[in-house]
């Protein structure tokens, strides 16, 4: 499963949010981590795409008052999603090895 750079970020955000991963929460986490504001349209677009690819599954949450009674759509990372993240990271590591003096691996 190939995913794009933005999709990778979205997957990471969904994954790290765990139970509470819905549109606005993801948007805010991304803004916090990257320091850049993401358009809500682009975010939803990516979420739907990732669901199509099987990286995410969604479930309807309960209605809350602050959204005028509209339900939230919660996303959860699937196994495919995890693999996609690993694959994406692998690709990056492989690729970066060609650059002398750059070491992306941390810790190990």
């Amino acid at each position: 499963m190939k995913i794009g750079a933005f999709e990778e970020l979205v997957l990471l955000a969904v994954g790290s949010l765990g139970e509470g991963a819905y549109g606005v929460a993801v948007k805010e986490l991304l803004a916090e981590k990257t320091g850049k504001s993401t358009s809500i349209g682009a975010l939803h677009s990516a979420l739907y795409r990732l669901e199509d690819k099987g990286c995410l599954v969604s479930s309807e949450g309960g209605a809350t008052n602050e959204r005028g009674g509209r339900r939230k759509k919660y996303y959860t990372l699937t196994a495919t999603g995890r693999n996609a993240l690993i694959e994406a990271n692998k690709l990056r590591l492989e690729f970066s090895k060609n650059i002398t003096g750059l070491n992306l691996e941390m810790g190990e």
Binding site: K27, I40, G41, H44, S45, Y48, N65, R67, G68, R70
Partner: protein, 884 residues
Amino acid sequence: MSNSQQQRPPVWADRLLQRLCAEEVVETIQGDLHELYFKRRQIHSKIKSDLIYFLEVLDMCRPFALKRRKSNNSIYKAMYYNYLKVAWRNLLKYRTYSIIKIGGFAIGIAAFILISMFVKDELSYDLHYRNQDRLYRVINVYNDPADFGKWTSFPAQIGQVLNESFPEIEMAGRLIVHDWFDAGNNQMRRVDQVINTYEEGFAYADPSLLEILEMPMIYGNNATALSEPNSIVLTKSKADKYFPDRDPVGESIVLNDDEEKTFTVGGVVADLPINGHLQANFFITLAHREFWPGEQTNWCCWNYRPNILVKPGTDVTALEEKLLLIRNDYVDKYMRATGNQNADDNQKYHTFELQPISDIHLYNEGIHDNFSHGDIKIVWLFVAIAGFILLLACINFINLSTAKSANRAREVGLRKVVGSTRRSLVQQFLAESMLFSFISAVVGILVAMLMLPYFNAIADKSMILPLTEWWFGPLLFGFVIIVGLLSGLYPSFYLSAFRPVEVLKGSLSRGSKSSTLRSVMVIFQFSTSVVLIIGAVMIYRQMEFVLEKDLGFDKEQVLMIQGIETLNQQTEAFKDELLKLTAIKSAASSSYFPVAGTRRNGNSFWIHGRDKIDRAVDGQNWGVDKDYITTMGIELVEGRDFEDMASDSSSIIINKRMAKELGLKDPIGTKLFTWETWNVIGVIEDFHFENMREEIEPLALRLENGASILSVKLATDDLPATLTSIEDSWDKFMPNQPIRISFLDDAYERMYEDVQRTGSVFTSFSILAVIVACLGLFGLSAFMVEQRNREISIRKVLGASANTIFQLLTMNFLKMIGIALLIAFPIGWYLVKEWLNDFEYRTTIGWDVFALAGLAVLLLAMITISYESNRALLTNPIKGLRSE
């Protein structure tokens, strides 16, 4: 959520979101957007949050969220294609009805196109100035309720006063366009030519006027072209005529053979736009001009019409107020100095108005300013008529569509059974009416093209269809859509409301349901037609009245030879020469005649010695020769006619009105005073020397030489021969000047051209309205006959007479037309009365006009109805019954 109303994102943006996005995603997205909105509201203003919200909604236009239409598209296309196909088949199947619908529409659209062109043209006058909103003319207003009047002329000094006393006025320029000294018409030639040419459209103008009215210069400079004394400015076409292919600046021109006083061309301006109030060909400068000693500073005589350019940001109402200085410092002073008894009244009633130049054409308000005018009332009248005709055509469409609904009922029923929604049925019928509207527009343009020359003739315009203009296409397209919608809306809702089960069982009463509405519409159509007919007839009545009224002078067989001032001393000799011809009874020279376009001279009259005591009687003071009264056939009621210049140089003959206004019981021998003393030697019958719109004013005749027109009373059956002999004598005297002859009765008729024009317009449009109404009636009666075909057949079989059946078929329609007449008569009467009120002398509104209009319409309706009824009567009843 205490104040949720405040907190809510804009509803319209939400609606937009719901419209744009697929249902399955809307809830999530909207929820997220709302949440973000509420968070933002904590920090930002409502407007900013709303704006961001709106942008976010637009940002949702992404493939995942948008409604999926692709799969539906081809079905929509196919359905519309089907609608049009069915519409087209219906159009062909019921040809008569289609022709009636399209024909009516086409006539309506053609009338609409023509009238909009007319209106656009009328509204386009004087809109070509850069300083549009700063250009005004000054109008005098006399607010005496008994003697209300507006006029635009001022004494000569007005130019200087306007320029120097009012800082708001950037420039002021005087203009003289009426027949006065060299203004008006002249015999003209280049100084090196011999042959005179008659030219019209001379005006006197201040040097500044070229700049004020922004006349584009071809040669010379707009600021200086008229600054030298005796300079003249020509329009391009006149310059080309006299000085082809060269710069004429500095060349000399001779007017009326007066070589002593030549004019020097100071410049050439572009031809004045035809949609401007000012139509002149030559401008003679007023710089350093004084028409008699002291004239430029004398406040006696009102001949100059000022135009002004005010400074930007001027308060016009305040300026109008300030202009009272003219009255207080000049007019009043003059009146007091001359002991004029009207001075107090003048202080009370005389005020000033500023009229934008662009209003001159349509808002003349009865001012005699020697310009030709349109009339805003006529413009509105035309708009109303166009609207009515169009409405009549729409009504036809609605009427016929609902009447023929039975034929479509099955189709509607079946479509519904198969699953068509009401909405798509409405769409279908609207598409159908659009189709009709489009076809009609094409036919309508053709009709408009055919009628344009005729319309141009009656409206006195030279318009061309603006087919290639950028706005014409879109405008017509929009118009077609609106007309299509307007006339399709009712039928489409009516038709789509059929209940499928009833329709398919055949129990729908066939199209007779909305018969009340149909009756109302027929009544409306015929009322409109009758009102138009009454209008047309009454206008012709008035025209006839004007032409046949006893005018107090004899206009038949009188020739006017114009431009005789160049004869100078030879006038009498020429007259004698003419009188040798047996066909000529008498001849008289004068510049003043009782038709428009000849000279006028208003004076104030007093009984001698009372000019400081009495109020003046304003009247005309005409210079004539001793044969004038005989030649014109004016009746002398008292005293004697003029004898000759030597003995009667201070004699005057007055009309009865003058005697009455002056309060003269025994006028003969009375001395009158204007600026000199006159001895009354005779009284003549009042004769109509102005338009019938005005009352006959006081008038006086005196002897005068140097006239410009010779009137000749003929007594002949052989006009061509007489004209030839007159021309021969003229050529002996004036070989270098072509003779100009017109007939008094023609000139008189021309005064009422506008009446004739309005009459023609009314006639043509009433014909159109009647055609449209009859088309509709024809369609309805045909439908009715078709409906009752079986009934008629059965009645016939049972022995009903042709008469009974005819009555049965026509009675209903005749009743409607009767009601239409009852409605139309009072409206027509009122409108005609209003129109006739413009005339001081007018025909009476007789009952016969109403009878005539009513009978004509009734007859037409009968013919229309009986065409189809007769067919029903004559067919064999078997034909109507066999089908069952």
